[in-house]
Subunit: 627 residues, 2 copies
C-alpha cells in the first residue's frame, strides 16, 4: 500500500539517484539485452552485497536474538494450500483493458491518477472538487461495479491511446504452473512465505517441545503477477521477503521483553488520526500499549523491534511511521495491524506489515487438511470430561458386508456422541438401516458397542494466535537508498550514499596515493590484514587523482578510505583513515587498522570517538621530494 | 547424473539416518499435512542453519577469496532467454505413461531398473547377459525410438500395475508460466542460475572496468519438473544452486594462483579410466594439468578449490572423486568437464559440475539478442584496418520519399562493404532501384556517399570463454549428512553427526548439571558471553539426565557441550567442555570460554591442541553433598 504524500522541499533527485544505482550496478532491469521485463530486476554486486548485509542483520536482530526457528520452504505450492489461505479466491486486483490494443491497467491506479489530474485542473468547479475528494479515499475498497460506475461517470479512457476501456475484471495475482508431468497437479508460485510456516506448524511446535509462545521465521522469494508494474523497485513481480510468525496463546499476549522497547518514541499514525485528518503523532511505545492504541504487548514489542531494525540499517527515523489499518481495510479476522511506512519520492510506502492475525491461518489449514493444528495449555484445575467410545466389531460386520467392512467401521467410529447414543438406543429395539454415501446397510446390535466414560484431563487444546511481522526487503533497500542519497554541495556531479558501515558492500577502500612502486607492498600487506580480519574491502590502484578515486568509492558508499602515502614508508608505519561523509582524516598505525575497522563496521566504536583519540590529518604530501 | 556403485560393506543405515533427520527437523517433505508433493522438501531449523553455514562458507571460500562479482537475478525468465540457451528445445527427459492409469515414469530409469533386475535373475543365459551388459551403458544417450525398441524387445510393463506402457515422449523439464496479465509473455522458472549471469555480462564486464579474467557468482533457487522424483533430496523439483561463471580469454587459460592447489592429491576418474573399466586414480593436480588430462590451469584451479571446499564442509575425501565426462556425454561445444561426485547410499552422485563451456553461452545470447557480448584484448602491435562509412543524406532522401526516409536511410547505413561499393559504383552510371521489404525505391547518387578509410586499431574484440563450476547445495548437504552419520557402538539408539564445527547449527550447548537453582545465574551469564561473541548456542535446562541431554545435542551435531556443575560455583569459576565425537572433557575457566569456542568454530584451534593445554576432566560430582 502506497499512501501518496510528499512535501516538495523534501523530494530527492530520483533520476540522479537511479542513474548512480544503475551506473555502479546496484541493480538494473532483468533481461534488458532482450528488451527487459517489467517488474523484474537483477541486483548487481553492490546491491547483492547490501542485500546480504541487510539479511544478515535481520537474522542477528530477529532470529538469533529471539531464538526463532528458521525454516526454508518450497516456493512451488499446490493449489489446495492457497485455497485454504484464501489466495486462490481473493488475491486479486481489478484490471481494465484498452479495448483496441489489449493493454492492461490496474483499475484503482488508473482511476486514482485520472481523478487526481482532474482535481489539479484550474477550472474545476467546487461541487466537482468536493465530489472527487469524497471519492478518492474510497477507491482502495471498491469492487468492480463501483469502479465501472466511476469510469463511466468520468468517461475515463486509456491514458496511453485514449481508447475506450473494458469493464474492470478481477485478475488473480499468482503465477500458475503445473507440477509433475501429468498436468493434473495445479500449483502456484507462493505469493508470500508465511504459508510454508503454517503448514509446518506441528513439526515446529514439536521442535519447540510443545511450548508456546515461539516464533518461526523465513527469508525467501515470493511472486506476484502485478498488472502493470511501473514504480521501479517499489512494485515488482519477484521479491525477497522476511517473515516472522509468532505463535502465542490468545489469552495471554503479554511479552517478557516489552519493557526493553517501552521507552522508544515512535511516529504512530493511528486509524483515528487518519479518520480525523490529523497527522502522525510521536508516542512513547509503552504508553501506546497501555492506552490500548496498540492491541497488545507482543504486537507492541515487534513494532519496537521493527523500529530498531529499520533505523539500524539506515532508514531515516523522521521518514518512518507506523500506520494503523482502518477497520475497513483490515481483514475481518485480524485484531490490529500496523504498517511500517517509509517516506520516499513515491510517497509513503509500506515496507513492513505487522499484524495480529488471531487464529485465522491455522484454523483454515486445519479445516482444509484435517490435521489438528493446536497447542495445549495446562488447566487451572483438572477437569472431568465425558469421553465417548464406539467399539465396532469388524469380524461381525465383515460376515454380513464383506468388502464394505472398512467403510462401515469407519462410519461407526466417527459418529458423534448423540448420533452414537441414538443409534445404540434404536438397535436395542431391533436392527436398523444406515445410509453411507447413498448405500444402505442393515446394522445389528452385535456390530458395535457404545460407551460413555468420564475422564480427568489436565490440559486443554487451543488454536494459537499468530502475530506476523512481514518485511519487503527490496522496498526497505529502496527506502535506505533514498534516505541516504546525497549530492556534495560543492559539486553536484559528486553523489554518494551515507549508508551505515554495517550495511555497506565494502567497509573500506585501500588507496595508494599514486602509482609509486614503493606503495605496492603496503597495499598487499594491508589487504592481507583486512582479509584475515574478515573485513570486506576494495583496492583501488587505478590511475585517477586521489580525489577522483575517493569520489568513486563514495558513490558505492564505502565509509572509510585507507590511504598509503610517503609517511607510510617511515616508522612507525601509518596510514590515513578518511571518513566518507565528513571528509575528515586521522592518522593511524598499520597494526591498529584491523581492530579499528572491525569496531567501526560493527558499531562498537564511532568515528566521532576515534577523532578524539587520534590526531587529525590535514593533507598528504603528494610527492616524495616534498619530504 | 548418478552413477550406481556402492560396495555393501560401506553402506549406511539410510532409514535410521532419515529418521533422525526428520525427527529433529533437518528437513521433511513439503506440504505433508496435505499429503505432500513429490520432489519438494522444506528445511527445518537445523537444515536451514546448516544450509546458511554452507552458503556463508561458499561465499568466503569462493566470492571473497577471488573477489568475484555476486549477482542476484530473477528466477522468472522470459522464453527467448531459454530459447537462446537451448533449454526450450533440448532440456527434456523421455517419459513413458502407464496406458491405463496415466502414471508417468522416466523412461531411462525404468529401462535401467528392469534390465538390472533381469541381470540379477538366476536363470539368465550367457547371451542375454552379454546383451544386457552391452545395452546398459548406452541408455543415457538413447533417444525415444531406441528406448521404444528396448521396451518392446523386453516386453517392459509399468512396475506399479504391470499395465502396458506408452511410447517414450520427450518431456521438457521447465515449469512454464505466463508473465503479466495479457497471457502473451510466456515465461519459465529458471532451470539454472547461470543464464542470469550471461545476460548481465556487459554490465559485469563494465563493473570490472573492462578487464578479463573475472568471475561472477550467483546463489539462488532453480526449478526442474522431474518426471517421477523418488530419491529423497538427491532428485528434487526446487533446489538451491551456487554457480560461478569465470570469464577468460580463450587464448590464455593460465591461472596465477594455480600453484596454490597444484600439490593436492585428488581422486580423478578420467574418461579413459571409464572406457577401459579401470577405477579412479589419485593424481597430483599439478601433474594432471601438466599431462593435459585436465584441459587447462583455470579448470584445474577450480577443481582444486572445489576439492578444498567440499572437504572443509565435511565431505569425506575418500568418498569424493572427480569424474570426467566421456566425449559422447559432453556438449559439443565444451572443451572438458569434470563432475565432483560423492559416494552415497544412492551410488556416486554428481554434486558439483565443473565445465569449460568455451564461448557457447555468450555466442548464443549474442545471436538471439543482437547485443555484442565481447571483451577486448590489446593487439601485440597496432593494426591497420579498412573502415567503411556510408553517409546517407536524409534531407535529400526525404524530398523524394517522405515517410519512407528512415527506412531507406537505415538500409543504406547497414550496407556491407561490398554492397555499398557496388551500389556506389552503379550510381556513378545513373540512378538505381533498390528493393527494401518488397518495395522499390529509385536512389540517386546525391542521396549517399561512400568512403573507405584506413584506421589504426590497438585492440581486437573476442568472445570470452567461460569456465563454470556449478554446485547443487542440497546434494552436497545430503552427502555431508551421509558421510558424517554415526551410530555409537555401545548403543545403537544413539545416533549422531560428526559435522565440522564450521557447519553445525549450534557451536555448543550450555547444560546445567541439574535443575539446582544455584546453576541458573551461570547459565544466563555464559549464554550472554556467547551471544556477545556471536557464537550460536543452545541452552538445555530440560530435566533429563546429563547423558540423555548430551545425546540429544549429539543428534543435532552440536560439537561442544559446556556443563555447569558444582565446581563452577567455586573460584576460579570454571566449566567442563566436552567434545562430541570423543566424549573427552577438559576443564576451562568461564572467562576463556568465548575465545576458545571462537577458535574451535573457525578452525584456528583444534580440539587436539586444546587437550594438550587444559587438564582432562573425568567425572562430575552429581550432587553438592559429595563435595
Amino acid at each position: 500500500k502506497i499512501t501518496k504524500w510528499m512535501p516538495k522541499e523534501e523530494s530527492i533527485d530520483r533520476l540522479k539517484m537511479e542513474d548512480l544505482l544503475k551506473r555502479r550496478f546496484f541493480y538494473d532491469q532483468s533481461f534488458s539485452i532482450y528488451g527487459g521485463v517489467n517488474g523484474l530486476y537483477d541486483y548487481g554486486p553492490m546491491g547483492c552485497a547490501i542485500k546480504a548485509n541487510v539479511l544478515a542483520e535481520w537474522r542477528r536482530h530477529f532470529i538469533l536474538e529471539e531464538q526463532m526457528l528458521e525454516v526454508d520452504c518450497s516456493m512451488l505450492t499446490p493449489e489446495i494450500v492457497l485455497k485454504a489461505s484464501g489466495h486462490v479466491d481473493r488475491f486479486a486486483d481489478f484490471m481494465v483493458k484498452d479495448v483496441k490494443t489489449g493493454e492492461c491497467f490496474r483499475a484503482d491506479h488508473l482511476i486514482e491518477a485520472q481523478l487526481e489530474r482532474l482535481l489539479k485542473a484550474k477550472d474545476i468547479n467546487p461541487e466537482k472538487k468536493a465530489e472527487i475528494e469524497r471519492l478518492l479515499p474510497q477507491i482502495d475498497n471498491m469492487k468492480g461495479p463501483d469502479m465501472q460506475k466511476v469510469i463511466e461517470q468520468y468517461k475515463m479512457k486509456s491514458p496511453v491511446t485514449n481508447n475506450d476501456l473494458s469493464e474492470p475484471v478481477a485478475f488473480n495475482l499468482m503465477f500458475a504452473t503445473s507440477i509433475g508431468p501429468t498436468g493434473q497437479l495445479k500449483g502456484f508460485l507462493r505469493p508470500e512465505t508465511a504459508q510454508g510456516i503454517f503448514v509446518n506448524f506441528k513439526r515446529l511446535l514439536e521442535f519447540n517441545q510443545g511450548r508456546l509462545p515461539f516464533a518461526a521465521a523465513q527469508i525467501g522469494n515470493s511472486f506476484r503477477n502485478e498488472i502493470s508494474p511501473r514504480s521501479g523497485l517499489i512494485r515488482v513481480r519477484e521479491f525477497t521477503m522476511a517473515e516472522i510468525e509468532h505463535f502465542v496463546d490468545p489469552t495471554d499476549k503479554s511479552h517478557p521483553k516489552f519493557e526493553t522497547v517501552a521507552d522508544l518514541q515512535i511516529q504512530l499514525y493511528s486509524a483515528s488520526n487518519q479518520m480525523s485528518g490529523e497527522s502522525a503523532q510521536v508516542v512513547r511505545l509503552g504508553d501506546a500499549v497501555k492506552s490500548k492504541l496498540i492491541n497488545n504487548e507482543t504486537l507492541g514489542y515487534f513494532i519496537g523491534r521493527i523500529y530498531q531494525f529499520m533505523t539500524k540499517v539506515g532508514v531515516d527515523k523522521r521518514k518512518l511511521r507506523f500506520r494503523q489499518h482502518m477497520s475497513n481495510e483490515m481483514a475481518h479476522y485480524a485484531c490490529d495491524c500496523w504498517d511500517a511506512e517509509c517516506k520516499t519520492s513515491y510517497g509513503w510506502v509500506e515496507c513492513v506489515g505487522c499484524a495480529d492475525r488471531s487464529c485465522y491461518d491455522l484454523t483454515q489449514h486445519m479445516k482444509f487438511s484435517g490435521e489438528r493444528l493446536v497447542a495445549e495449555r495446562p488447566l487451572p484445575a483438572p477437569k472431568k470430561v465425558q469421553v465417548n467410545e464406539v467399539q465396532a466389531y469388524a469380524n461381525v460386520i465383515g460376515k454380513s458386508f464383506g468388502k464394505d467392512t472398512a467403510t462401515i467401521t469407519k462410519h461407526l467410529q466417527q459418529l458423534s456422541h448423540d448420533d452414537a447414543r441414538a443409534l445404540h438406543d434404536k438397535l436395542e429395539q431391533g436392527d436398523e438401516k444406515i445410509n453411507i454415501d447413498g448405500k444402505e446397510f442393515a446394522i445389528t446390535r452385535k456390530m458395535f458397542t457404545f460407551r460413555s466414560t468420564e475422564k480427568t484431563v489436565q490440559v486443554e487444546e487451543f488454536v494459537p494466535s499468530v502475530i506476523e511481522p512481514s518485511f519487503g526487503i527490496g522496498r526497505i533497500m529502496y527506502a535506505m537508498w533514498e534516505h541516504n542519497f546525497r549530492i556534495r554541495p560543492e559539486d553536484e556531479q559528486r553523489t554518494y550514499f551515507t549508508l551505515p558501515p554495517l550495511i555497506t558492500p565494502y567497509k573500506c577502500v585501500v588507496l595508494p596515493l599514486s602509482g609509486n612502486e614503493e606503495f605496492k607492498p603496503y597495499v598487499k600487506q594491508i589487504s592481507a590484514i583486512l582479509t584475515q580480519a574478515g573485513i570486506s574491502h576494495k583496492i583501488d590502484t587505478s590511475s585517477g587523482t586521489i580525489g577522483r578515486r575517493y569520489s568513486r568509492s563514495d558513490e558505492i558508499a564505502v565509509p572509510f578510505a585507507i590511504t598509503i602515502d610517503f609517511d607510510t614508508l617511515k616508522q612507525p608505519y601509518s596510514v590515513t583513515l578518511r571518513e566518507r561523509d565528513t571528509f575528515k582524516q586521522i592518522r593511524v598505525k598499520i597494526d591498529e587498522i584491523a581492530s579499528i575497522l572491525q569496531g567501526l563496521s560493527t558499531g562498537t566504536v564511532t568515528w566521532g570517538e576515534l577523532c578524539t583519540q587520534y590526531p587529525e590529518f590535514v593533507e598528504q604530501q603528494t610527492t616524495k621530494e616534498q619530504q
